[in-house]
């Protein structure tokens, strides 16, 4: 095996990891601020990709504009989701939040199957089949776009969380809810924004990946369970931890997948999550599952 082979595996892994991170960071943010596990997170990724498909292929919108529109719509959906469903759960139990969002996921997923059938749809742009080639290493242009969008989102999220008042408030709530209340942070405003950002990231992921993967109603389902594993490995509620764990997992999967059977890789993700819970329940980067 030559160096090109390993480089190719690493490059694939980075792209996969950043894609995971886009979904997992939002999930982690929502858990951190609201202590809610959002089962429907993958469905918003699916809806984002579906919307991107209809905007580009049916309405003839350009790809860049599509990404902006989809993300904006997803942010609005996040607001609605919080106000309509999640606000009433505030402090009202982890199990209820799982069941509620599971119900939402069933509605969205099966509703999408009913409306659009499971036929895969492909977003075709003029760049769809353009590849970048350096020596033996190849990557398709749309994957590079997705990677760039992902990194852009990392940066934006970092700026919000560390550079703005509301971001600091968000981190405050995530670290210690009671203390944050005591210093006068409005938990409702913070929660609303956290959900909006989380769902927005999910929608962005959908728009970024619509030209990379086939778009269909079941695409969010398998994705979100991997994201669960990632936020546990990264430390529940720890957004940066989730990002690091996602990229690490993507690269690990790719490198291992280069040698071992692919299904072993899937089993590996879940077993490493269970092992993590047993050995280091606070996750790799702290702030563990709290009772």
């Amino acid at each position: 095996m030559d160096a090109g082979f390993y480089l190719q595996l690493l490059l694939n892994g980075i792209v996969i990891g950043v894609i995971y991170a886009l979904v997992a960071m939002g999930l982690s943010l929502i858990f951190g601020v609201l202590e809610i596990v959002n089962f429907a997170h993958g469905e918003f990724y699916m809806l984002g990709a579906m919307l991107a498909y209809f905007l580009t292929m049916n309405m003839g919108l350009g790809y860049a504009a599509t990404v902006v529109v989809v993300t904006a719509v997803a942010v609005c959906l996040g607001y609605v989701l919080y106000e309509a469903l999640l606000a009433s759960l505030e402090g009202g139990g982890f199990e209820r939040s799982i069941l509620l969002t599971l119900g939402l996921s069933m509605v969205l997923q099966n509703g999408a199957v009913f409306l659009f059938t499971t036929t895969p749809r492909m977003v075709q742009t003029s760049q769809s089949y353009v590849n970048l080639v350096v020596g033996d290493v190849r990557v398709s242009l749309m994957r590079v776009f997705a990677l760039a969008l992902g990194l852009l989102a990392f940066g934006a999220l970092y700026l919000i969380l560390y550079g703005t008042r509301i971001g600091r408030a968000m981190r405050g709530v995530a670290q210690n809810r009671d203390a944050a209340l005591m210093v006068g942070i409005d938990p409702r405003a913070v929660s609303r924004l956290a959900v909006a950002i989380g769902i927005g990231l999910s929608g962005l992921a959908g728009a970024a990946l619509a030209p990379v993967y086939a778009v269909h109603p079941l695409m969010g389902f398998s994705f979100v369970f991997k994201a669960f594993a990632i936020i546990i490995i990264g430390g529940l509620g720890n957004v940066a931890g989730a990002a690091v764990a996602a990229v690490a997992l993507g690269m690990l999967e790719s490198v291992i997948g280069g040698f071992l059977p692919l299904v072993m890789v899937d089993a590996l993700v879940f077993s490493s999550m269970i092992a993590m819970l047993l050995l280091r329940p606070q996750g790799l980067f702290g702030r563990g599952v709290r009772v």
């Binding site: 209820r96 069933m106 269970i274 819970l277």
Partner: protein, 325 residues
């Protein structure tokens, strides 16, 4: 509140009625619905024990069901074991696995348990599909033979649908009786105390972990046995026994019936196992409707039908005292 003897009589009549069904009608579809009800009542009853009474949200039930199914099918076909031994072994293995995942994750928190139970169910599916030398992979094990049940002094060849109806209904009645005895005994009260306030229960000398594990192991055992019996009715076991759809259906039964309400969940299992089929309810949108019901239940009706009845009874019980100052 109806008097105890009346309730007992009603239950006896109900059970007698269920067992009389194959004598009244030879309609195999009615029997199939009965089998489906018996299976789901055990699964949702076990889930109710774990979630409704003890407060642990579990997605692992379908995993136990499948483990029981595979174990029993393999032992009977490959080792020539009798059905009862295969199914019991399936139940025992499911209970053991339940103890392992329960013990490892419950030391941390209920949250960890919920997520581990979900991953466990997915791992089961992967093993069933891809550990071909053990489970024969995606093809499953088709053509399971007509099993023979050896009871003391009597061996029973289960060749007709009515036989499976009697078998599964009989097991469901036993399982429900066990669950009922548990939830109405001191055990059940301790479980409810843990659900309501774990710290308080602990201060009263209740060890939460052992009660949680007991509930989990019992529900896993029952699910495993019912899986071990059910696959012979189907004559095939394949990875779709771990279908997430079963988990969703069980959850809906518990939520609509009311977590922590024995009769509520039993009633919901009966209604949901039979009614959608009887009404030829549109399959396209059934899961959408189930999801909407789940959302609505969590928002406005968290106690389910059982919880609502209980609240009403409680209000009636309280009223005279409040009226007389």
């Amino acid at each position: 509140m109806m008097p105890g003897w009346l309730r007992g009589l009603l239950v006896l009549l109900g059970v007698a009625g269920l067992f009389a069904v194959p004598r009244i009608t030879g309609n195999e579809y009615v029997l199939a619905l009965g089998v489906s009800f018996a299976m789901f009542s055990v699964l949702s009853g076990g889930l109710n024990l774990v979630y409704g009474y003890t407060g642990l949200l579990s997605f692992a039930q379908v995993g136990f069901f499948g483990i029981g199914g595979y174990t029993s099918a393999l032992l009977v076909t490959e080792r020539g074991w009798p059905l009862e031994a295969g199914a019991a072994c399936g139940g025992a293995l499911a209970a053991l696995v339940g103890l392992v995942i329960g013990y490892s994750s419950l030391r941390l928190s209920r949250h960890a348990f919920a997520i581990v139970s979900l991953s466990f169910a997915f791992l089961c599916m992967i093993v069933a599909r891809d550990w071909v030398s053990l489970t024969r992979g995606a093809m499953g094990i088709p053509g399971l033979p007509v099993p023979v049940l050896h009871l003391p002094g009597w061996s029973w060849r289960l060749s007709r649908p009515a036989d499976f109806y009697y078998l599964l209904m009989g097991f469901a009645v036993i399982a429900q009786a066990v669950i009922y005895l548990v939830v109405t005994s001191r055990l059940g009260r301790a479980m409810r105390a843990i659900k309501l306030n774990e710290a308080l229960a602990q201060s009263q000398g209740i060890s939460p972990l052992s009660y949680k594990l007991l509930a989990l192991a019992l529900s896993a055992f029952l699910a495993g046995v019912v899986g071990g019996l059910f696959v012979f009715y189907l004559t095939i076991v394949d990875p779709s026994i771990f279908d997430f759809y079963y988990t969703e259906t069980m959850l809906i039964m518990v939520i609509i019936g009311g977590p922590g309400s024995f009769w509520g969940v039993l009633g919901a299992s009966a209604v949901l196992a039979a009614l959608p089929d009887l009404l030829r309810f549109t399959t396209d949108l059934r899961m959408v409707l189930y999801g909407a019901v789940l959302i609505a239940a969590m928002l406005v009706f968290p106690g389910g039908v059982g919880g609502w009845l209980q609240r009403r009874a409680l209000r009636r019980w309280r009223r005279p005292r409040l009226a007389a100052p």
